[in-house]
Symmetry: C2
Subunit: 416 residues, 2 copies
């Protein structure tokens, strides 16, 4: 390698390091000399084996690094989660200011992956319809693919998913005989839990064909088909009147421009007397999701900041009653998913290919890092219509009483 | 009265009823014939004795009605709180669209009551410096002039104020030896509670001279002057580094345009590792406070919507960890304040004048109605810097454990 060429490559490595922030990582080209930020001991080393890969990363660090990892074109020496955590940690000090290229590329991706009725169906199909057998390898038996709730850090994944579903029901103070509309019901576990454990009537919407088919079969097996109706349709086509609206893990797939419309649909469904619950991945401030994640994992996704979510509540005069940030619970959920995923990686590779395994490993590991560092947040929001009195005097009964002991009349209790 | 004149006055009464919404109230002119919305049984009757008052209300219903009540120019037959609740209830269905006049008048008031350093001092002086002896007549002995927290609906005001202060400390998981900056400390009760019960060092700011003098004297009497420093200055002049930022009942006095600046001051004080707490009167959506309240009671005040409060958190990458809406607790707090106020009304009238008594009665009764109906909300927000791990695994210890049992190391606990 000539002096001129070496100098160019060193400068390219420097440019990458600058682009990803002052993280304690070492970048090495062709297993030769490399660079790391001065005065820090690197957490991990990223080895870039060829010029094509190097240029790809320089031109678009975010997507370039992700694709190079998924394609097996770079090698990482060290723990992947620790590496990603170091990168996010370095960037966490202040809101990121994205380059013009990155902003334009993000806008182009928004356009390509638009969440129109048809676009949403395509986006959701690409992630959730890749095969129930795949998800069964690493999710809990009920296939709950959202943040679990761990009453203690040692709770098992299975129990933590049940605890999460119950926590949602308890926050909503579901009462037997009430009607619930669920938007984005996944494989149906929450709908079935609400019906079975709380005696409510549920209508649940989802545009993933595989998920709805699975959910209907479960309802049939459990003898709950008369209580839970699974509808394969977009939430925008929801009709009817309900006591409660609930959506767990759908908001982040919608796009912020859909929130006013969603708020209108919620208000049409529950009116001024109903109550609602949203559980979603969020942000500390408005910023687009990683383009690599949108390209390879979640097309059309956009975790919102609380400011953006206000578009759902304000036009209908909904009152926000309770917001809880459970981001460390999502980090733990993802740790358990990644463990199980790694245990099944040979079977996953046989189902798809090794690049798929690496891409999903990067997505799960990156999500652990993001929730640990606060690059991503997990918000649960309880809200109510303007004529619905808050259903509790304090939160204490959520933590000190069994559900049955919480009085059934509380949602309409007078204040005086 | 001629037919023509009667017809005019009837039309004016109709215009008032239209302006205040379809509330079940009866408006009567000169104890003669009146009007009420068709098909409802009126909650209360408002009697308007003369044309000057009638025209004043027609031209500016909000301020006109408030002033006419305070000046004793209208008579109300029925319960004042119930009347106001009926009015707010009628308007609660959807966000209000204010008339052009009302919006212009509101802007003019914003300008007059601007929260510049000097403007804030003037605004705060007008409310909080009217005499400690007056507030002692109807607040609790510690003079806590913010929403209390009632563990049960039958908790006394005194106990509920102590419970509120403790709840704030528990949400923040204060640890002995930590440093706390309090912005807008009122008569100092929370600062003293934090120092006495949690062993923290507090620096507390307030621009109300009477309140600071009272707080300093209490600190001296309790032997806490070495732990709590009361500073008579604006929060914008806060200097130093602290573990915790806390502000209870100040945000609603600032004006939304001050929030980015406040966020910057908080970040300067607690950095990325600290945590913070805001307790304030808020709204379901951005809208100015009643002009009558701003004219007669709280100059410069503006309860924000959650969307507006995001300006404090986003630029510093603060994470919102917990939002609780305690509006029914404020309704109850105000009920107890109004009871005590009414018991002391003769003494208040002797201190000031009967118009003052009526104005404050209207303010307290209107606030009860507003918190009951959701026209006003009470938000408590716990937040943390980007390098501060949430200080709890779940909220359960807040409700199930004594403070001392909550581990002291939790704020830095690792996630894995």
């Amino acid at each position: 390698m000539s002096i001129l060429a070496r100098s160019l490559e060193e400068r390219l490595l420097e440019a990458i390091l600058k682009a990803i922030g002052p993280a304690p990582i070492r970048l090495v080209f062709k297993n030769g000399n490399g660079i790391s930020p001065p005065g820090v001991s690197p957490t991990a080393t990223v080895m870039i084996p060829d010029r094509r890969t190097l240029w790809g990363i320089v031109l678009d660090p975010e997507v370039g690094l992700g694709d190079a990892y998924a394609d097996g074109r770079i090698h990482i020496d060290g723990d992947l989660v620790a590496l990603l955590e170091a990168v996010y940690e370095a960037a966490a000090g202040a809101p990121a200011y994205n380059s013009l290229y990155s902003r334009l590329a993000s806008k182009w991706m928004d356009f390509q992956q638009s969440n129109s009725l048809r676009g949403s169906r395509h986006n959701i199909h690409r992630h959730y319809d890749i095969g129930n057998d795949f998800y069964k390898l690493w999710l809990d038996p009920q296939l709950v693919y959202t943040c679990a709730y761990f009453p203690t850090p040692s709770t098992s994944l299975e129990d933590a998913q049940i605890a999460k579903m119950d926590y949602v029901c308890r926050k909503l103070r579901l009462q037997s005989g009430e009607t619930v509309i669920e938007a984005g019901c996944g494989w149906g576990a929450l709908s079935l839990h609400m019906a079975r454990e709380y005696g409510v009537l549920v209508k649940a919407y989802n545009i993933s064909h595989e998920q709805i088919a699975f959910a209907r079969e479960r309802a049939r097996q459990e003898g709950l088909s008369h209580q839970v109706e699974f509808v394969e349709d977009d939430y925008r086509n929801v009709t009817g009147k309900f006591d409660v609206f609930v959506s767990v893990g759908m908001l982040e797939h919608l796009g912020v421009d859909q929130y006013r419309g969603l708020g209108h649909i919620i208000h049409r469904s529950i009116g001024d007397s109903g109550r609602g619950f949203l559980h979603f991945i969020g942000r500390n401030y408005p910023t687009p999701l990683s383009r690599w994640i949108r390209k390879r994992i979640f097309p059309g996704a956009c975790p919102p900041a609380l400011r953006e979510v206000a578009d759902i509540f304000e036009p209908s005069n909904f009152s926000v009653l309770d917001v809880e940030n459970l981001r460390l619970h999502y980090a733990k959920t993802l740790e358990l998913w990644l463990d199980r995923f790694e245990s099944s990686r040979d079977r996953v590779a046989a189902m798809y290919d090794p690049s798929f395994v690496r891409a999903w490993r990067l997505y799960l590991a990156g999500s652990i890092a993001a929730f640990r560092c606060g690059t991503l947040q997990l918000f649960q929001i309880l809200f109510a219509g303007s004529r619905c009195q808050p259903g509790f005097w304090t939160r204490a009964p959520l933590y000190t009483q069994q559900v049955s002991a919480i009085e059934a009349t509380e949602w309409t209790a007078s204040t005086s």
